[in-house]
């Protein structure tokens, strides 16, 4: 029998869970609320435009032409860093696929043993030893993973982010492992730009006032007043923020850890990630390798509405451009299930899965995750190499449900 395979070229970003918005066909990734980001952009571009319009002609002639040149370079750097921070993937961890989620569930069940009825099961925490310190890894119920150390779940973007620092509304994105250095360079260069504009505004007003008088100067260049006001208020916050982040970098801490007080206090664990050397810490954070994104946003998803399993190989050309060797060699049924379920893993297992995604095979029922927190999944996947008694107990539990 022939299967009708209707392949629609859908990119993976369209099916990613989480509350991000994507632009330029997956190249740009931001949070949902972008209003404050537009404000940031407007303030920077607006203030700099006023500077270039009012101050620069005068200063270029009366002081030096390098002043506006340097201002332009600094302005371009600030905008580049801002866009880089806002548009890049902060280090989002993809959610666990159903098999991985059920594997972890079974491990948890095995570790917990038999919980007496009516009692709350113990919290899902895994202890790991990092550089001779015990660090607790928490389980994320949304992403169904044990969060790696320093990762945290951002409720605004609804993603787990690696080395989560904070969610910044000013840049309209989370700040995490991949974009922290851009964020830091943004705040630092913005501080420099603000100080620069503020200083030369004052210089300009003073120089003009000497010639024309103060009130006349203000009438001639009203923009200066606006710039001075904006810069004055911006200065305190941005310079303060840069100083705070410089402090965090020197200690190799994140804002999240600092707020929670993870490494402060005598009785608490000392920061196991710090090299105890300011220079080394700075180098690691700012000059470390450029981590790649693990979200394959622009990869192509294969979507087929075939009515029956075929042994036809999936068209390799429509597969993701990344190294998807496993999907090209797995059996087509598994490939379809894995590929489609990879990015449509529902948050809560009982949530509706879009119709066009469900393969019509029985495989979908086998792979669908069981209700959250309740019991081990349908017994298509055998339990782990857990002690026999636990395996038997879990199967018995299965039968009683």
């Amino acid at each position: 029998m022939s299967a009708v395979m209707i392949t629609r070229k859908v990119r993976k970003w369209e099916k990613l869970p989480g509350k991000n918005t994507f632009c330029c066909d997956g190249r740009v990734m931001m949070a949902r609320q972008k209003g404050v980001f537009y404000l940031t952009l407007f303030l920077i571009v607006g203030t700099c435009s006023l500077f270039f319009a009012f101050e620069c002609p005068y200063l270029a002639v009366h002081l030096s032409p390098t002043i506006p040149v340097f201002a332009v370079l600094l302005f371009l750097f600030v905008i580049a860093m801002l866009l880089r921070t806002s548009f890049s993937d902060p280090g989002v961890l993809p959610r666990a696929l159903p098999e991985e989620a059920s594997f972890i569930e079974m491990e948890i069940e095995a570790a917990n043993g038999n919980v007496p009825a009516g009692q709350r099961p113990p919290p899902r925490i895994r202890n790991v030893q990092i550089n001779n310190q015990i660090v607790k890894l928490k389980y994320c119920y949304t992403c169904k993973i044990f969060r790696p150390p320093r990762a945290s779940h951002c409720s605004i973007c609804d993603n787990c982010v690696d080395r989560f620092d904070h969610h910044c509304p000013w840049v309209g994105n989370c700040v995490g492992k991949r974009n922290y250095r851009y964020f830091y360079l943004f705040t630092m260069s913005l501080s420099l730009l603000t100080i620069y504009i503020f200083t030369f505004d004052i210089v300009h007003v003073v120089m003009r006032s000497v010639d024309n008088g103060f009130l006349n100067t203000l009438k001639e260049t009203p923009g200066s007043v606006l710039e001075v006001l904006v810069c004055f208020f911006t200065l305190w916050s941005v310079v303060g923020l840069t100083g705070f982040h410089t402090y965090l970098i020197s200690l190799n801490q994140t804002t999240n850890e600092d707020i929670k007080g993870s490494w402060s206090g005598k009785n608490r664990v000392q920061n196991p990630y710090s090299h105890k050397n300011i220079l080394k810490n700075c180098c690691e954070v700012l000059c470390g390798p450029a981590y790649p994104s693990v979200l394959d946003r622009r990869g192509l998803m294969q979507e087929d509405s075939s009515a029956s399993a075929t042994s036809a190989a999936p068209p390799g050309s429509s597969m993701s451009s990344s190294n998807s060797m496993s999907s090209s060699t797995a059996p087509p049924t598994m490939h379809a299930v894995l590929c489609l379920q990879k990015t449509t893993a529902p948050l809560i297992p009982n949530e509706h899965t879009p119709e066009d995604v469900k393969p019509s095979l029985g495989a979908s029922e086998q792979k669908s995750p069981s209700p959250k927190e309740q019991r081990p999944p349908t017994p298509k996947l055998p339990p782990l190499a857990s002690p026999e008694t636990d395996a038997e107990a879990s199967i018995t539990k299965d039968k009683t449900h």
């Binding site: 790696p148 150390p149 000059c287 060797m325 496993s326 060699t329």
Partner: protein, 158 residues
């Protein structure tokens, strides 16, 4: 009872997925990417321990090379910063180069070692660098008990 598959194509056509094993990350040295070399018991009958450990150790070495903080990473970082990171639009980062090497290595390992034993390694980058997923296949043509044993828990078989 290891079923023999001669190549990846045969694996695709004649085998069905029985189980998956997930090799977790080893965080003992910090947040650098490293996987545990502990041999999972599900693979005991399928592959030799040394082969498995070699694969994981080689992968760990590749990741360590990618994430190494040294002269080359500083140079790359400073150069990129000087160009406002625009250079990354044209140039491939060192990490991406190593990831390509890893992809090739995994493919080679699958073809030579794992597929003949009915196993398949998934590149960790496709699982968010959280786990190494090893899929265990059963020969579809084999007797009902061996392919059915995957659905019934191992406890009943013991």
């Amino acid at each position: 009872m290891a079923t023999e598959f001669h190549n990846l194509q045969e694996l695709r056509h004649s085998a069905s997925l029985a189980n998956k094993v997930f090799i977790q990350r080893d965080y003992s040295e910090g947040t650098t990417c490293k996987f545990q070399t502990k041999f999972p018991s599900e693979l005991e009958s399928r592959i030799e321990r040394t082969l498995f450990e070699d694969t994981v150790k080689t992968l760990n070495n590749y990741y360590a090379e990618a994430e190494k903080i040294g002269g080359q990473s500083y140079l790359e970082g400073c150069l990129a910063c000087a160009t406002a990171y625009l250079i990354f639009l044209c140039m491939e980062t060192r990490y991406e180069k190593v990831l390509k090497k890893i992809g090739k290595y995994i493919q080679e390992q699958n073809e030579k070692i794992y597929a003949p034993r009915g196993l398949l390694i998934t590149d960790p980058i496709e699982r968010g660098m959280r786990v190494i997923e090893i899929s265990i296949y059963e020969d579809r043509g084999s007797s009902g008990s061996s392919s059915g044993s995957s659905s019934v828990s191992g406890s009943t078989a013991r």
